[in-house]
């Protein structure tokens, strides 16, 4: 079973990386959005491999089913963007290459220094929605309530922006 899980991991990682690269390099914005959907969906697959079933479902529901739809709406809203070929690069190529490279080097250094990877979240147990619910209501009560304030702020901001646009 371990063998199948690791091969599934490699397949999923390949899909995630390929779709992520296509997401930033394709010329048609709508196609980019579709590859973003594929990328986020495959991340849900990784969560399943880690036994984090609730997180996988939340990933599909929120990122694939809601945020991506919002993106697609935004693309469709923007006139003349959907079927126009756009430029995907700008003049800051060299700078961004430097930033990305230094980040990659830093990340690889940190990863190689880390020992004892706890890569399977076995202690999560088989009822992770139950455990999550208990934690949210006891130990992580404050962050949980703050989330609602955050969401409220997001909503009020969106409505204010939309009203400004109209007037």
């Amino acid at each position: 079973m371990e063998h199948q899980i690791s091969s599934a991991f490699w397949v999923l990682s390949f899909v995630i990386l390929t779709s992520a690269i296509l997401l930033v390099s394709l010329k048609n914005v709508f196609h980019c959005a579709l590859f973003m959907v594929l990328c986020l969906f495959s991340v849900a697959g990784i969560f399943i491999l880690l036994d984090a079933e609730f997180l996988a479902a939340a990933q599909v529901l929120i990122y694939v089913g809601a945020v991506s739809i919002l993106m697609i709406f935004a693309i469709m809203l923007t006139n003349n963007l959907t079927n126009r070929v756009i430029k995907q690069t700008n003049e800051n190529g060299l700078v961004s290459l430097f930033v990305c490279l230094s980040f990659a080097v830093g990340a690889i250094m940190l990863i190689s220094k880390t020992h004892s990877w706890n890569y399977r979240a076995n202690e999560l147990g088989h009822d992770n929605s139950l455990i999550l619910g208990k934690y949210l209501m006891t130990e992580f009560m404050l962050p949980f309530e703050v989330i609602s304030v955050l969401l409220l702020a997001a909503m009020i901001g969106a409505i204010a922006l939309a009203r400004k646009e109209r007037s």
Binding site: A74, N79, G133, S148, I159
Partner: protein, 117 residues
């Protein structure tokens, strides 16, 4: 994990059946395209203008409100599962959570963001 394996098999077989019917249909159906047939439908007229037009930005506001409440609903799921073991305190917490968000929808309502014209 084996439960997810059967879901994978399910997806593969479902896709396989769809592809099979497409293939079957491709083998036996007629294929005779010409210019007029390949036009988009527009009440038997030649289509006018670009089909990818700009639409009302109201759709976007509704999508935004939806994202926010979708996040709320996903938080309700673990709460509902654990509720039997948690008691009154959890109920109070969730009521506060929902009231804060309810204030949001009330605000949207009053500001006319939920009005579809």
């Amino acid at each position: 994990m084996s439960e997810y394996l059967s879901i994978l098999i399910f997806i593969l077989i479902g896709t396989g059946i769809v592809l099979f019917t497409f293939l079957l249909s491709r083998l036996i159906r007629p294929h005779n395209p010409y210019h007029a047939k390949n036009l988009n439908y527009e009440c038997a007229e030649e289509p006018v203008g670009n089909s990818w037009f700009q639409f009302n930005n109201r759709f976007y506001i509704f999508a935004l409100i939806f994202v926010i409440f979708d996040v709320e609903v996903i938080f309700l799921f673990p709460w509902a599962v654990a509720f039997g073991q948690l008691g009154l305190f959890a109920l109070v917490e969730m009521v506060i959570f929902i009231l804060i968000l309810f204030f949001g929808i009330f605000y949207a309502w009053k500001k006319g963001a939920l009005k579809w014209v």
